[in-house]
Every structure is written in C-alpha cells, then in structure tokens.
C-alpha cells in the first residue's frame, strides 16, 4: 500500500467497557487523509469515548485501532501485542491534536503561553521561532491581539479558538474535536465553527463529535450516527440528514433538526 492509501484512522471492531457496562460495541470505521468525519448521536451513545480511544486517553478492550498505519497504544511484534511505555504513547499523541468541550485551557498561562507550552517543552526549538509560530497560530484563529490575556479574561468562543491554536501548535496530522461548541453561548458558536471550517479547507484530517448538523452538512465528508455504542448509520452527510434509512436515526434527527 502506498502512503497515500493508508487511512489516517482505521478502527476495526473496537469494543470498550467500564466494568460490565459496554460503551462501544464493535465499532469499525475509516477516515481517509484530509477527510472530515462528523460523529453525531444522543449523549451516552459512546461517540466521545470513541474519540478518546483514538489518542489513547481511554484504552480499548477489543479490536484494533490504527492512526496513520500505527497501532494506537500498543506495539505488535509478530502476533503478540505489547503494552506501550507511557513515553511512547505520549509521543504518539503529539501527532494527534484534541479540542475539548470545556476548552481545558491552562488558566495560569496566557493565551500565547498556552499555545507555546507543548512545543517549548518538547521540541526544544529556538524560543523566538516558537513564539513567532505561536503568534501566527493565534492570528489564524483571529486572536493575535489577545495573546497576553489569561483564559479567565477571554470569552468562551475565544478560549475555544485558543484551544484549537494550542492543539495545532504540535503540528498534528489529525485533529479530534469533542463537542467543541456544546459549552458555548449560541452567539459564540459561529466563530469557533468558522475556524474549524477553515481548518478543514486547509486539508486537515478531522473527527468531530458535534450536535451542529449545519456544520456537519456543510463541512463533513462523512457523517456517522452512533447510538448505544454502535454505528447505526453512516454515509454522505446530506444523504443521511435528509434521507435517513434507520428508524433510530429518523427519530434522533427529528428532534435535533
């Protein structure tokens, strides 16, 4: 297989349970390079858990998960699977950016420091160059003028945009968004979605857990509807949203659209 054909994310029959509570039941899906996948579904359907498995914030109990052709969290030698050392797992995560519902910015650091922190600690590059790059990223999300603000002095939408810039600072090849606009006031949702749209247009591979069906229709290459830990329906977003095949999908969409 040539490099271009290796999917960015490939999940093969992933299962995950907390004790006896099975939250993911044999999920299989694929995200190609440069593709945007939107995961929708009712809360508790397992979509956030699935997202967190992709960068090994949660461990899976069964199945296989690859990011860019590499097994996530494990190493395979022959037919044996070895648990990864935390350091290796950390290294793997550097290529995967993640944006959280509650932003999780570091409150004791300014916007610029938030963006610069990981590259400064890990790449040990020239500080001036890192700072220029961090400022560029802040400019990209429209917040260059707020670089010396602490998160507490930024609006929710601004915080989330800083969080996106922070995730981009590690130059990831994949971006995960866990309900990035769910904690925002309605009037602030647009600015965050605009940044995400720009990111998608620049060719970033993205997996977005969201309730914004308008965004999914406009930006996503594929829409996956999950419920009860399984993929109920997936396909072209417009197709799924306007002409859902399954009863469960219809019922859900009738409530959110």
């Amino acid at each position: 297989m040539s490099q271009a054909e290796v999917p960015m994310v490939k999940a093969e029959a992933i299962s995950k349970s907390y004790g006896s509570n099975e939250v993911l039941k044999s999920i299989s899906l694929e995200v190609k390079r440069g593709e945007v996948l939107c995961l929708v579904g009712p809360s508790g359907s397992g979509k956030s858990t699935f997202l967190r498995c992709i960068n090994h914030l949660e461990t899976i109990n069964a199945g296989r998960l690859w990011v860019d052709g590499e097994l996530v969290g494990y190493r395979q030698h022959g037919d044996k699977i070895y648990e990864m050392h935390p350091k290796e797992a950390a290294k793997q995560r550097r290529d995967i950016g993640m944006v959280f519902q509650r932003f999780n910015l570091f409150p004791h650091k300014t916007a610029l420091e938030n963006v610069m922190l990981a590259p400064t600690l890990l790449k040990k590059g020239n500080k001036a160059a890192l700072q220029t790059r961090a400022m560029d990223l802040l400019a990209r999300v429209g917040l260059a003028d707020r670089h010396d603000y602490y998160p507490a002095h930024l609006s929710g939408g601004q915080q989330q945009r800083v969080a996106i810039a922070r995730a981009l600072a590690m130059e990831p090849k994949l971006m995960l968004f866990d309900e990035p606009t769910s904690a925002l006031d309605p009037e602030l949702v647009g600015e965050v979605l605009d940044v995400m749209k720009g990111l998608a247009e620049s060719g970033m591979t993205m997996i977005v857990v969201t309730h914004e069906m308008g965004f999914a229709r406009e930006v996503a290459d594929e829409l996956v509807f999950m419920d009860g830990g399984v993929v109920v329906e997936s396909g072209d977003p417009t197709e799924v949203l306007t002409n859902p095949q399954r009863e469960r999908t219809k019922a859900f969409l009738s409530k959110v659209l």
Partner: protein, 351 residues
C-alpha cells in the same frame, strides 16, 4: 449555523424602555448601636487588664522585659529559631511534594512507601520523634558504608556528622513533611481532571504534566495552609530541647529566666519575638498567595495580612489603625511593649 444565528437573533428582540432616569437610592444607613456598645465594653476590659498588668503585677517585671528584649543572647536565640524554621520547612515542603506525588503516582511501590512514611511520621508525636533523633548518635554510633560481609567500605562517626542543631532540623522536617504531603495532595486533587487530560493530549509526559500544569495550579490551594504550617513550625521549634538543642528562642529565654529566678518576664520576651516573626510571615504569605493567584479572577477572600478592624472603627480608632501603614509594627515605647496587630492594607480593614 446561519439558521441558528438568525433564530437566536429572533428571540432577543429589543424591549422598549419604560423609565428614562433611574433615581439614586438615598437610604438612611442601618444603625448598629450594639456593635459600638460591645466594642466599648471590650476596650474598657482590655484597658483595665493592661493597666493592671503594668501597675499591680510586679511578677511581670516590665523593666526586665525591656532590658532583655534586645539582649544579644535573646537575639541569637531568635536567629537560631528562625534558621531552624526556615531550613526544616524547606526540607519539609520539598519532601512533602515528593511524598504527595508518590501517593498519587501510578507506581504501587511509590504509593506504599509514601503511605508508610505518613503512617509513622504523622502517627507519633513530634516530641517523641525529636527525642529519638537526639538518641540517634547513641543508638547508631557509626554509619558503615560498604559491601555487606566484606571489609570494603568506610565508616562515619554519627556524632561528628550530626550536631544537635542538624538533628533538631531533621526531626522537625521529617515530621512536618508528613503533614505537608497531605496538604500538597489535597492541592493536587483540587486541580480539574481536564487539565491533566489537555496536557496528556498534547503529548506531554507525566512529569511535565505534574510540574508545569498540575502543581502550579495546585499552589493556590497549597499556599494558605502551608503558611499556617510555617507559623506552626516556628512555634514547634520551642520543643527542640527534647533533642536536646538549647539555643533556640524559647529555651534560651527560659534558661536566662530560670537562672535569675524570674521566668515570667522572659516568657513575655519570647512571646514578643514569636509574634513579631509570625506577623512578618503573614505579610509574606499575602504576596506569595497573590503570585499564585495570577490568571484567576481576584477574589475578595484571598487573605490579606489584616485583622478585622471594622468594629473598632465605629468608636473612632480607625485613624490609629491606618497609621500603622499596613505592616505589623511594634512600638517600643518606654515600659509598655504593645504589639500592634497587622492592620488593614488598602481595602483590607476598611469595611
């Protein structure tokens, strides 16, 4: 997205305004006559007590208090106490952070070691521990470092290695570390789980996450009780006679007092200096707290080095409280050594 925005705009159509000019409220202030009465009664009682102590109680020997307040032996005792406090707190905080991180570490061996440490050092009285440390050079006369069952290695004589001062410092520090560990652990647990996650998702390792993300945020919770522990340590140094180390402030003043058959004035001398030091510590704590509160919206309950003076303010002493300038001061007037509590900095006591 656009649908949503227009929908949001639709629901919040502007309401017409009814009132043109809001009128300012000019209410008569609620009076609190009992506050003034209680304050007046208290001041009279305290005044009588001070008068009585100055005029009718020769046992206080105020002349001796004044004479020995700046005696070189007393000041040296003060310096020893200060050193013991600082050194043992530095060790205790460092060790406490280490123990707290160990207790929260994924490594079960670290967790067990930290737990056992806490169990022993928090579970026995500090006085008993100090006596034990004092006996160390007797119980373990020498320390041999080398390979067991061979002659390779060298030997250290314990009592040459550890003076009573060092043993006192170790004893105080190791005991305090157990308490500090719990304070630090509470601080670490107070930091939102999302912070760890964000840091880990960036690809930072456990150490970077702890040292750069979690611990700095935990400091806001850790500093106030640590200030408390420093004050407590300052006073606990008065127990080092158990080692026996006898050059600290309390033991020194006590010894002088006993040799002159006048213990009471020296209790006052010691108390005076302990109060001066704790007052200074309160000021220092304010600035440390302010530093670690950066990035967090200012909250009024961040402790300033103040005592509540509003009650006194009612009966007209507010000008006196402001004259102190904020720092705890001690007026060394003739005879009467008054300790002025640290008064309100700007915005502190003027409620």
């Amino acid at each position: 997205m656009n649908d949503m925005q227009t929908a949001a705009a639709g629901t919040s159509s502007p309401q017409p305004r009814r009132h043109d000019e809001p009128q300012a409220i000019e209410a008569i202030k609620l009076r609190h006559p009992w506050r003034s009465v209680i304050a007046a009664v208290l001041i009279i009682i305290v005044g009588l007590f001070i008068y009585d102590a100055l005029a009718n109680r020769p046992v206080y020997s105020w002349d001796l208090v004044v004479k020995y307040l700046f005696d070189v032996r007393v000041l040296n005792g003060l310096w020893q106490t200060l050193q013991l406090t600082i050194y043992s707190m530095v060790i205790a905080v460092t060790l406490g952070i280490l123990l707290a991180i160990m207790r929260l570490s994924p490594n079960p061996v670290f967790r067990a070691v930290a737990w056992a440490y806490l169990w022993v050092f928090r579970g026995t009285p500090v006085y008993v521990q100090l006596v034990f440390w004092g006996l160390m050079p007797v119980i373990y006369k020498s320390i041999k470092l080398g390979i067991p069952f061979t002659d390779i290695g060298f030997e250290l004589i314990t009592k040459d290695l550890f003076s009573f001062f060092v043993l006192a410092m170790i004893g105080l520090a190791l005991n305090e570390a157990a308490y500090m560990a719990e304070i630090v652990r509470a601080g670490l647990l107070s930091v939102d789980k999302g912070q760890d996650e964000a840091s880990i998702a960036l690809g930072l390792g456990w150490w970077h996450t702890m040292s750069r993300i979690v611990l700095p945020q935990a400091m806001r919770v850790i500093v106030p009780p640590t200030g408390n522990e420093v004050v407590s340590m300052l006073k606990t140094t008065s127990l080092v006679i158990a080692v026996p180390y006898s050059w600290d402030l309390y033991t020194r003043t006590h010894d002088i007092g006993v040799s002159m058959y006048k213990p009471v004035p020296f209790l006052i001398v010691a108390s005076f200096w302990y109060l001066v030091l704790t007052s200074l510590l309160m000021v220092g704590q304010y600035y440390v707290e302010r530093y670690f509160a950066r990035g967090v919206a200012a909250r009024p309950e961040v402790q300033r080095p103040t005592v509540e003076t509003s009650t006194i303010g009612v009966v007209g002493l507010s000008s006196a409280t402001e004259a102190g300038g904020g720092y705890p001061t001690a007026s060394d007037g003739e005879g009467g050594d008054q300790i002025v509590p640290p008064h309100g900095r700007a915005g502190g006591g003027g409620v």
